[in-house]
């Protein structure tokens, strides 16, 4: 039963995506929405990305320096490990998990509310493809903004690591810098960007799906918002495994 339900949901999701990905009626209106969504989904998330990344960068650095680094290890280990964790997993996958909570619930509740207050019906009556008008700018906007958010996250993580060195003297500046630069592979940065683009698509499209298919009232909108966050988080985790295998 559960399998059948999941499959039929997936079918509906594909149908919705087919409806979403078509040429916008009016480019003028699409760009207006697109700018709005980039602002609402991307720019408004920069603060939380910076905050969390800064502290995680600092904490990783402290943990490794105090608990893992030993006298027999080379002195670049702390910086090196901090960099690799930020680049490979935190700034793409974990960051997107956090964004799934913030952005996913935002998208699902906004579209869900529009559904239950008949605003989506109003769009349809006007002869507008409501999925295309509402969802496409969100997906494209999120995909546009995510590399920027990932960059901010990496950057803030490194600042956090440096802060432990400058403020708390956990590690010397030279050791940290040496570690952060040691054996740098540019591909890891690209891998983070590529993964995050897939995650951005998952967050925006899955959350939009849950919002768009709400039936009922405010209780259902709340449920849809929760489901959107849970489902997109789980999907991000699975996608992370596949993408990491594929790209490494």
């Amino acid at each position: 039963m559960l399998v059948i339900k999941a499959l039929s949901s997936f079918g509906k999701y594909l149908e919705l995506m087919k409806k979403t990905f078509s040429r916008p009626e009016r480019m003028r209106m699409f760009f207006k929405q697109y700018i709005k969504e980039m602002n609402q989904l991307g720019v408004d998330s920069i603060g939380i990305v910076l905050l969390i990344s800064f502290f995680i960068g600092a904490v990783i650095c402290i943990q490794i320096k105090l608990n893992i680094q030993s006298s027999w290890m080379p002195r670049f280990v702390t910086g090196y490990t901090t960099r690799e964790i930020m680049l490979l997993e935190f700034s793409s996958a974990i960051m997107c998990l956090i964004l799934a909570g913030k952005v996913g619930s935002n998208i699902a509740s906004e579209i869900g509310t529009m559904r239950v207050t008949q605003q989506i019906d109003a769009l349809e009556i006007m002869g507008i493809n409501s999925a295309n008008f509402l969802i496409l700018p969100k997906i494209i906007g999120m995909i546009t903004m995510i590399p920027i958010l990932v960059s901010f996250s990496i950057f803030a993580g490194f600042i956090g690591a440096y802060a432990t060195s400058v403020i708390a003297n956990v590690i010397t500046l030279e050791d940290l810098t040496l570690g952060l630069q040691y054996d740098f592979k540019e591909w890891y940065v690209w891998m983070g960007y590529i993964k995050s683009i897939f995650f951005a698509f998952i967050i925006s499209s899955v959350s939009a799906f849950f919002g768009y298919t709400v039936e009922g009232g405010s209780v259902e909108v709340g449920k849809a918002s929760t489901n959107a966050v849970v489902s997109s988080s789980v999907l991000i985790l699975f996608a992370d495994i596949f993408l990491t295998q594929l790209l490494s």
Binding site: M114, T117, Q118, Q119, D121, I125, M126, G127, N129
Partner: protein, 261 residues
């Protein structure tokens, strides 16, 4: 003119609409009345194409909606305006932007002209002062009027109103009713209104269809309501004490006056 032919609609195994036949003329306010749950909203959703009828045809000035392709359906929808029970204004946009929205979407006119048209529509519903406000900042009656302005922005041929005055006081209801009635005549639109407000029935009921448990039970206009003999209709219309007394008074004057003729 909108014609409905042998319309059936069922959900799963529940028949909601059974064999509805009706003709709605242009320039007239056509009312669909009936008890809560009788299927008015479902009927209206079938007419505008938000729901697919199980069987039956809907003709818009002779054009069969069911036989149309996707493209044509989209185009005919641009000739429709609809006012929802909940007004359904876009709450992320100001009042003026709401009214401008259909124009922004479908009109090639320059911005200046679009603003002018939107202002004209807002003025028509007497809300020019509220153009900068957001839907959350205006009253329910004002929201309904904005919805009317938005619905007429593109000069629709067909106007649909699902309970336009539910939740409004009697006086505001009259304002809305009159507005819809005047606009209908002014632009010779085909207007269909769902209602169970007896004031509307008596006020603007130029053509009335009574739906009882999904079937069309009675058809006529407001002058025929008082003398109607259909029992189900009378039970519905004259359910309240006040209306029953009005009817009794009407019948007694009617009966005593006819023999004298």
């Amino acid at each position: 003119m909108i014609e409905i032919q042998n319309l059936y609609k069922s959900f799963d195994d529940k028949d909601v609409l059974k064999d509805i036949n009706a003709t709605f003329e242009n320039g007239k306010t056509n009312l669909i009345i009936g008890q809560s749950g009788s299927g008015k909203t479902v009927l209206m959703k079938c007419i505008v194409g938000l729901l697919q009828p199980t069987t039956g045809n809907i003709l818009y000035d002779g054009r069969n909606y069911a036989a149309m392709g996707k493209k044509e359906k989209m185009l005919i929808r641009r000739e429709m305006g609809m006012i929802f029970q909940s007004a359904a204004l876009f709450d992320s946009m100001s009042v003026l932007e709401n009214v401008m929205f259909p124009l922004d979407m479908f009109s090639d006119a320059p911005l200046e002209d679009r603003v002018k048209r939107a202002r004209f529509c807002l003025d028509r519903v007497n809300l020019l002062d509220a153009q900068k406000k957001f839907p959350g900042e205006i009253s329910g009656g004002m929201q309904k009027r904005v919805a009317i302005a938005r619905a007429i922005a593109l000069n629709p041929k067909y106007l649909f109103c699902d309970e336009p005055n539910s939740g409004l006081d009697p006086k505001t209801s009259l304002v809305i009713d009159d507005l819809i009635h005047d606009i209908t005549q002014e632009y010779n639109m085909t207007t269909i209104i769902n209602t169970h407000d007896m004031n509307s029935v008596m006020g603007i009921g130029e053509k009335i269809i009574y739906i009882y448990e999904g079937c069309k039970e009675w058809e006529g206009d407001k002058s025929q309501i008082m003398g109607a003999t259909n029992e189900k209709l009378n039970n519905f219309i004259f359910a309240s004490d006040l209306f029953r007394k009005v009817k009794e008074a009407y019948m007694s004057t009617h009966q005593t006056s006819t023999p004298k003729k």
